[in-house]
Symmetry: C2
Subunit: 432 residues, 2 copies
């Protein structure tokens, strides 16, 4: 099938960029690839709205589910992005009506993907989702096709553009989290509703769920994630981290440990010589560690109309070229339920900020606790005394690898000391 | 065809890693992908040699051309790497005998690829070469498949591991080129013969020829390259560059300017905040600039047995899955001959090191020449006076964008000045 008749549901940034790209490049696709992309139907919440193309060129559907049934379409592109609801119905209806589906909907795939992939599989249809993870970076195809016969040990990366923008801006302009969030909202980078998913780490965890499934054949199960967002990140920790040679980034990582699945999204200190540390602003990046490749690192635009539309296009191209559709990169009956690896058992190195009274003996009694609990300290940064009397001063400690539970024990003890004035800030260090 | 019967010609690092990987993962491939990879024949220069597998498990061919004719094989993997000669004959014979071919041979594809692609095309066969460019980085598949409907403006990268190792080691350990080359040879990273291709920039230019063809449909024509190697790079220039915020890297880049092809491989100064600057040691990286993606950046192992074998595997997987083979990512009759863009017209910013007598008035007479020739200076670094009397001192100048020819004119003038003691060192700055 090298001619596709396409229905597009959702005409936001990505949907509009897709329509415009197809309009502008129709002949280029035909000439270069013998691929004919025809948009036949479109649908969005609001019909009358200023758009960068003429909607009257296409059949308009008030109800996108009707488009999913229309025999004139053979591919439905879902770009509405609801976690279930109308997005799910559009896709389910399309698959039941023997139409291929392309979607950019990470929340839906992460939560309800399994039953939809089963439906696609029974009907020998494509359910493609390159646009759902890391915008314009072709990470899904890389895993499914390019390194398909390799074995992946670990996948990690920066999967959310908004939080990466916020952390970058905090660091570069020495601003607080709240101040930068306001800028991001004022600039329209994120809405109130989106920002909850972004800042809370949920959007990144949706994407990690999908990557984790592709890498380890784990059942799509959003509950397998440990998620910590960035709203508690303080500018002072960003600055101390920088002094120690790190940047703070929201890192998502998945691997199998002792036959259990470990999916973590949390802010971590990343060493400046790790390529992830240079991924700034709204960029995304993914590092894939395999038995053959050590590290394969991909970096690019993580969101935005044009990059994400490019991923939709690449899925459309795939559909035009193939007759069999390997939506997961392995047979769906290979999906397996893993037990969740316990967060208590995680072994990592850590950064701690301990706010104490500024008086003699404090540092040695803290370090004594560490040696009593057999925790190996890597570095201590004791900062110049405060000019204000009675103001607590920070002691920064980085540890060598230690089990989380063991670290929590010593932290509880230290927080109970009279001269420790605040809850201790604990951030993991991304060592690989 | 999901069962491949494979003949492997060449059992060096890559060939041996390939045999071993297939032996170890046969069941994994079958189980995950329903792909059966059978090695049926092998061939190498020397039969009796210690290897990491038992050669008696396979049919041995003294003459690999016989293997290319054997009806028991349906895929031939060529890993000998001669620019023409036996490598060409193996591939040609295989294609004429209706066998798919996988090769890692960049020199051969860059110089003689066109006629072989034509032969593959007539016979509807695969001629796959992921392993020919950047070892384990799946850049060929990314361009051919993932971003196939996009339009590429420019491709640039670090395509040779040996030179990148040498430049990194020079910088990190403050060593001369010759000293590091000796280490690289002693460690077996490069042989006398290979090192000529590596250091001269030819190996990188072979790879750039292939990438340039995929990106711009330019005829495979090695003569389109401008090539400058790294043997003239001095440790002092690496150190001065570092002071200015740059690293020196061997950069290959291709684009179309005024409908002419521009393929350059040369040592350039790369700003520390460009991701290419962090690509150290034997790593490779490629940046692809498209109309949709701005920059897509891929980094990984550029050579070595396992990573390169992984690329061969990915080609074998592709062959097992497809019936049509789009070897170039576009129809072969779309290949076009571009005129070569003139090096004189290249516009770039530059780094210059001018060794002069240490006496008053020198700097101002040099800068006067620059303003007379209307060349805009960005930065001047005048270094502390030498402690040795009569020893020339360096003046480092970086320019804004300037046409190469114009710069050459002023350089000729300045080199003629009495107080200028050496040929001026000129290196381009990689601005994008």
């Amino acid at each position: 099938m090298s001619k596709l008749n396409i229905g597009i549901a959702g005409l936001g940034n990505v949907g509009s960029a897709l329509v415009q790209t197809i309009e502008e490049n129709k002949n280029y696709f035909l000439d270069k690839k013998d691929v004919e992309l025809n948009i036949v139907g479109i649908s969005a919440k609001t019909k009358n709205k200023k758009r960068n193309f003429n909607i009257s060129n296409y059949l308009w559907y008030d109800d996108p589910r009707e488009m999913s049934k229309d025999d004139n379409c053979n591919v439905i592109v879902e770009l509405i992005g609801e976690e279930k609801g109308i997005s799910y119905e559009i896709i389910e209806t399309a698959l039941k009506n023997k139409k291929h589906v392309v979607t950019g909907n990470k929340a839906l795939i992460a939560n309800h993907g399994k039953e939809l992939f089963e439906l696609a599989n029974i009907n020998s249809l494509a359910l493609s989702y390159e646009a759902a993870v890391a915008g314009g970076i072709p990470v899904i195809k890389t895993i499914k096709n390019s390194i398909s016969l390799d074995r992946i040990n670990k996948i990690s990366g920066i999967l959310n553009g908004t939080t990466n923008y916020i952390l970058t801006k905090m660091q570069q302009d020495n601003l607080s989290f709240d101040a930068v969030l306001k800028i991001a909202k004022d600039k329209g980078f994120t809405s109130d509703q989106e920002s909850k998913l972004d800042i809370g780490g949920y959007d990144a965890a949706h994407k990690l769920t999908i990557l984790s499934t592709l890498c380890f054949k784990s059942n799509l199960n959003f509950n397998n994630n440990y998620i910590e967002g960035i709203s508690n990140i303080k500018i002072e920790d960003i600055n101390f981290a920088e002094k120690l040679g790190y940047k703070i980034k929201l890192i998502s990582e998945a691997c199998i440990i002792e036959e259990k699945i470990s999916n973590f999204t949390s802010p971590k200190l990343v060493s400046m010589d790790n390529p992830l540390a240079s991924v700034d602003n709204a960029l995304n990046a993914i590092n894939i560690e395999t038995i053959h490749l050590e590290n394969l690192f991909l970096e690019g635009e993580g969101a935005g109309g044009k990059p994400t539309a490019s991923s939709v296009l690449s899925d459309l191209y795939d559909i035009s070229q193939n007759e069999k559709f390997d939506n997961l990169g392995f047979k769906i009956d290979k999906l397996q339920s893993f037990e969740k690896y316990s967060a208590k058992n995680v072994i990592n190195s850590y950064y701690l900020r301990i706010m104490t009274e500024d008086k003699p003996g404090v540092l040695s009694s803290i370090t004594n606790y560490f040696s009593d609990f057999d925790i190996s300290v890597k570095k201590i940064l004791q900062l110049p005394e405060s000019s204000e009397v009675d103001k607590p001063i920070p002691i920064i400690i980085t540890t060598h690898n230690i089990q989380k539970e063991k670290l929590s024990n010593v932290i509880n003890k230290i927080e109970g000391l009279e001269f420790v004035k605040e809850k201790i800030t604990v951030l993991a260090i991304h060592d690989n």
